[in-house]
């Protein structure tokens, strides 16, 4: 078998996998969200017998979807920026300074990821109540999310800091650059992909996070995931859940594609040896 043929087969296999993995669930979610309440979608039909945007309009008008979206899209960018800012000093130390026990610290930073989210959430909220932060729910969730997603941010940014080349910093200094100019010319270009990746990942985690948003926020602070879960409980209506999950997931996919493009356009010379 020629190499070209093998490549073709693998490409089709990958394509097939993508269809099974992404396209089918999406299609089903879209179909469910379009089910008109006049005629239920029963298993004996391949497609819903009657399709309309009724559910979308209904949820938009009659549920707390607007508020939940506003909350989520206020919260997630704030969490992304706060987490990135908080991660910077530790990431700088892990990426650029040599100190004894550095490897241990790197491991410790990642340790919180081992604990399941719900377990952390239950005890974390207890601390929030003790701190009195529960009164300002937006702030409490912002704080909690920032702390929870810090390991990801530190991990990504410390690797980013490692890629900053010392000779670029030295060259900038040698040519008379101030501290600010040194950051601009030597650090920022190398950190940019890491910063983007951190912002995006934290944004997505925050948008999708349920446990803390639910425990701290309920009953009067709704985000998209808590709204989704209220539609999954006793009053489970599949078409409504489909609408909300699509609202939850579509921006993420768009952002992912955007990041993919961004990382691809990042200057390849930054990571290569010369230049």
């Amino acid at each position: 078998m020629t190499r070209l043929n093998l490549n073709k087969i693998l490409l089709w296999a990958l394509f097939g996998l993508c269809v099974i993995w992404l396209v089918i669930p999406f299609t089903i979610a879209i179909l469910w969200s379009l089910v008109d309440p006049s005629q239920p979608w029963t298993p004996d039909h391949l497609l819903p017998p009657s399709m309309s945007f009724y559910r979308w309009g209904y949820l938009w008008a009659h549920s707390s979807l607007k508020i939940a979206m506003f909350n989520s899209y206020m919260l997630a960018p704030s969490v992304a920026i706060v987490t990135l800012t908080l991660a910077m000093p530790t990431a700088y130390a892990l990426g650029r300074i040599n100190f004894p026990g550095k490897e241990v610290v790197k491991l410790l930073v990642l340790l919180p990821l081992v604990v399941p989210g719900f377990v952390t959430a239950i005890f974390f909220t207890a601390i929030l109540f003790q701190l009195g932060l529960n009164a300002w729910r937006f702030g409490a969730i912002l704080f909690a999310h920032s702390i929870l997603f810090l390991p990801y941010a530190i991990r990504i940014m410390s690797v980013s800091f490692e890629t900053v080349r010392q000779d670029h910093i030295d060259a900038a200094r040698d040519l008379g650059a101030s501290t600010f100019e040194r950051w601009k010319v030597a650090y920022i270009p190398a950190l940019k992909p890491g910063i983007m990746a951190t912002l995006l990942i934290v944004f997505i985690y925050s948008i999708e996070e349920f446990a803390i948003a639910f425990i701290v926020g309920s009953p009067n602070f709704t985000t998209i995931p808590t709204l989704l879960f209220t539609n999954l409980g006793a009053n489970f209506i599949r078409p409504n859940a489909a609408v909300i999950s699509l609202i939850l997931v579509v921006p993420n996919v768009i952002l992912m594609l955007f990041l993919e493009r961004l990382l691809r356009s990042a200057n390849p010379a930054l990571s290569s040896g010369k230049g």
Partner: protein, 350 residues
């Protein structure tokens, strides 16, 4: 006035001494090379001059001013890095102007200097390109140009040619030297390549174990090395242990060595009764002479194109001989002589 003066500079890292009590001056327009094996302290010394390292003791002066405690961004030096360290996201023009922008030079002056350097280094066609679109040689020139636009008191080179292939290295070497002369810049050039040092320098400082082992013009260093380290590091040398048996007239000494008794002629007397001496392989003279005639057994032959390397045994001491005439020395043994003035006195044997 001296462009750079280093006075009794030392650098300690914990227990390790990287540079020990080094002093030297660089005159205006002078090209100095710091030459030595890796770990000899030459790069550390360069970092002390550029300001990236603070000497543990001693004084660094640039343009007559004490800059020992001045940080690199405020020193009148410009460095050419081994890796070039070009900013990959900036165009060639922006790389070249980077230092001038930091200095907040007037736009007209900046443009003029940029044009000047770009013309001299043949980079005018590359100004809008990014560094990774250039060849290695061109990147090297941008790195040099970025330093030159600063019009510094001294340009510092940290093994700038080690990333280029051999052919290109020769031409860039000459180019660097020409431009350094054109601008009448003082230059300190760090390398471990002895050929580079001999070809480029006004003066070479040979470093070993954090000290300057010998300083002098390339001719002095090659012709009269002071120690066996220098003799061995620059060019090839046959080094022998010798005992001074007696003086044979003015400036001539009779020596006892592993390869027999030799007559040596030197302006400077030997430093001790037992010492190291050396002779260069290419100084061997074919056939018997009036003095120092030696018969050697040839153990190995290596054809090098323009000469032949002969590895010979002289009284069970391995020596090396280089003949220009490739036809010579095809026999198993050969007779040769060494002129007394070609035997060089080195350091005493402790």
């Amino acid at each position: 006035m001296k462009a750079v003066s280093v006075k009794n500079a030392s650098m300690h890292f914990g227990d390790f001494t990287a540079v020990q009590d080094v002093s030297f001056d660089v005159g205006e327009g002078e090209f100095i090379t710091l030459l030595g094996p890796s770990g000899c302290g030459k790069t550390t010394l360069l970092k002390m001059i550029s300001g990236f390292l603070q000497p543990s003791s001693g004084i660094i002066e640039i343009g007559g001013k004490d800059v020992t405690h001045v940080p690199p961004e405020r020193r009148d030096t410009a460095m050419c890095f081994q890796s070039y360290a070009l900013f990959p996201h900036l165009s060639v023009a922006d790389n070249l102007q980077f230092g001038l922008k930091q200095k907040r030079l007037l736009t007209a002056e900046r443009k003029q200097r940029l044009q000047d350097v770009a013309t001299k280094l043949d980079l005018t066609a590359q100004l809008d390109k990014l560094p990774n679109q250039l060849s290695g040689g061109q990147q090297q020139r941008v790195a040099l140009g970025r330093a030159l636009t600063m019009r510094p008191s001294v340009v510092l080179f940290d093994e700038p040619l080690s990333n280029l292939d051999a052919k290109l290295r020769d031409s860039v070497r000459m180019e660097i030297r020409k431009i350094q002369r054109d601008y009448n810049l003082a230059a300190i050039y760090v390398t471990h390549d002895q050929g580079e040092a001999l070809a480029m320098s006004d003066r070479i400082l040979i470093m070993n174990n954090g000290r300057i082992e010998q300083a002098g013009t390339p001719h002095e260093i090659y012709g009269t090395p002071n120690t066996s380290f220098v003799a061995d590091f620059i060019g090839d040398a046959n080094i022998l242990d010798a005992e001074v048996i007696g003086e044979e007239g003015a400036g001539r000494w009779r020596l006892g060595t592993q390869i027999g008794e030799l007559i040596a002629a030197s302006a400077a007397p030997p430093v001790a009764k037992t010492l190291k001496v050396c002779w260069r392989p290419e100084k061997a003279q074919f056939g018997p002479g009036t003095e120092n005639t030696i018969t050697a057994d040839i153990t190995h032959r290596a054809f090098q194109g323009n000469y032949t390397d002969l590895f010979v045994m002289i009284a069970s001491a391995p020596q090396r001989v280089q003949w220009r005439d490739n036809a010579v020395g095809l026999a198993d043994s050969l007779t040769m002589h060494i002129r007394p003035e070609d035997i060089i006195f080195l350091e005493a044997i402790a």
